[in-house]
């Protein structure tokens, strides 16, 4: 039983990471109706910036903060240079345009940081496990990820629901022209929203950096999962993204932990270890297909459109 709790905590941690990515994606998609495949590249850049600045300043926290600022600037630059011309175009153009950006960013990172990839060393005090419950050990750093992501989720909720910027963002989503006619520079607002999306992706990247190596193309696999999350959750709905992220995180991790044992009953050890993780990944896509068939607009279809 304790083992199940430990695995569910791992699932929650993956869910948190997915939420960070999905929140950025669904915010940008909900507001600007823009499919941004390059969101994974911003995740990668966040990790690279954090690794570089942490090495420079010698402190994890300073590295993280500088990384967030750098990712914000890159995000806004990308919006002004490339994304702004894509508004109003159909989604195929978005997919292709941002697909090109992925190739560009991967190669740019290789040019600047070289092919080998980097590591982001954790401060030594993080290198311990915490006894969350009697007999249940959980790495301290992963708790930090869960807690900090919850904080970000709260911050995001307050920003969108309680502040004027949040009101303008939601208003812009439903009637962009009218917000302009009331004296708000909607173009600038969109740049800020895109920058916010980039920061969320960068934050997810730098939080994940110490657990995975920072390498080119690290954003692409997780990007597909993030898209799955916003589709299940309902595009444009941050609440939906949170629920769906938890769902996907738990299914993937618990699936990866228990399916191989389950399959070992009727498959050889090796075959089970191969089929197990593959099947748990498939589970997520079956879930997606299943939900879309019955709820073509996701669980919490955004009310705005």
């Amino acid at each position: 039983m304790l083992y199940f709790i430990e695995q569910s905590l791992n699932g929650v941690q993956l869910g948190m990471l997915l939420f960070l990515l999905a929140a950025g994606l669904t915010l940008i998609f909900g507001i600007m109706d823009l499919v941004n495949l390059a969101h994974g590249s911003l995740y990668m850049l966040g990790a690279y910036f954090a690794a570089t600045f942490a090495a420079m300043t010698g402190s994890f926290i300073a590295g993280a903060l500088l990384a967030l600022i750098a990712t914000l600037l890159v995000g806004m630059a990308v919006e002004v240079i490339a994304m702004r011309r894509l508004y109003g175009r159909d989604h195929l153009d978005h997919v292709l345009g941002t697909f090109g950006l992925i190739l560009f960013f991967n190669e740019l990172v290789r040019l600047i940081w070289g092919p080998a990839g980097m590591t982001l060393a954790l401060p030594s005090e993080m290198l311990t496990a915490v006894q969350v419950l009697p007999g249940v050990y959980f790495p301290l750093y992963r708790l930090v990820i869960i807690v900090s992501t919850l904080a970000v989720a709260l911050l995001l909720y307050v920003l969108v629901m309680r502040t004027r910027i949040g009101m303008l963002i939601r208003a812009g989503a439903s009637n962009r022209e009218m917000v302009g006619a009331l004296g708000i520079n909607i173009k600038l607002l969109y740049t800020l929203v895109f920058g916010l999306g980039a920061v969320l992706a960068g934050f997810a990247g730098l939080m994940q950096a110490p657990i995975l190596t920072v390498q080119i193309g690290m954003g692409e696999n997780i990007l597909i999962l993030a898209f799955v999350v916003i589709i299940i959750g309902g595009i444009g709905s941050i609440r939906g993204a949170f629920v769906a992220a938890m769902l996907v995180g738990l299914i993937d991790t618990v699936g990866r932990a228990f399916l191989p044992d389950l399959m070992r009953l009727f498959l050889s050890a090796n075959a089970a270890s191969t089929a197990g993780p593959a099947f748990s990944s498939m589970l997520i896509y079956m879930l997606t297909a299943g939900i879309l068939v019955f709820r073509p607009e996701g669980l919490f279809p955004a009310a705005t459109r």
Binding site: T213, A257, N270
Partner: protein
Amino acid sequence: MRKALLATAALLIITASPAMPQQKTIKIGFISTFSGPVAAIGNDMRNSFELGLDHNGRKLGGLPVEVIYEDDLFKPEVGVQKTQKLIESDKVDFVVGYIWSNVLLASLKPLVDSQTFTIVTNAGASQLAGELCSPFVFSTSWNNDQTPQAVGLYMNQKGVKSAFLIGPNYAAGKDMLEGVAATFKGQIVGRELTRWPDQLDFSAELSKARAAKPEAIFAFYPGGAGIQFITQYVQSGLKGQIPLYTAFTIDELSLPRLKDLALGIPGAQEWVNDLPNEANKKFVADYKAKYKSSPSFYGAQTYDAVGLIDSALKAVNNDMSKKEDLRKALEKADFKSVRGSFKFGPNHIPIQNFYLQDVVKQGDDYVLKTVATIVENDQDKHFQNCHMK
């Protein structure tokens, strides 16, 4: 009208690249991984190969050498594409390299079909030692399960009663876990294969290992993945509770980044930097002088490939067309290996000793030391199913 002719003409120009000039050099195609978390391995192999050529006056069999390095990006489908390019487009005389068993297996057909002499300097796929052995393919490394078998023997010597095995889910990973299971006398309480190469988060597997309460854990994770595994092994607090045994995970490349995390984790290897023979002393000393870091077994195996090719070319005085004589010369392998004595089995896989290595802290840097010889003149157990006797 004008635009259409222009487009067709452009099409033909692109394809009109010049025909290959035939000048007398030895062309070597080198396939390894130079990107991602395992790039350090590829770079170590390239450095050692270049060092070997320097020691040989940039010549093989007396002829100038041209080396074409290709990055397999860690993926079998890219490896096979680059292999085909080296054979058909660059028309190389030898292909050297291959870190990963899955990339090697994918590239075997084009290599054997084109009868290109290949020196595998790391990948030890069991199929290469067994049914897929070929007169044109030689290995200067080992077969995947020889090293873990040595670790299994060592765990028996230490009186370990039960073990939990963890490894990456690709050809070498499965071979490694098979290897330990073959020689380990105790009970295997768990066996986990993780998704390779993208899964570097082992929290689920480590929790499962803790739950199984084994007396020891065996793990195999090469390159950057090894650093991740050991970091997370320490992070989860398992280090004090359950001892860890490894193969190909702690080496001169990962040690500088693992530092004291690696202390007290033994491993087995067919080459360690302090082997007492002349060739090895020169290799290690010159490598440190030139590259300011110490070589790993990946490098040592690649350095030997230079000596092997040079000795064979001299025996047939560079006549690449005499394939049969070149094969016999390569099989004789009369060159000074950094491992001391070096001889091939009938399936072109080396027969060699395996040593126990441990991490020792000298001053403020960490070094791998030979502690004991686990097994001598060990031969892989697949050579019977190879058609070459």
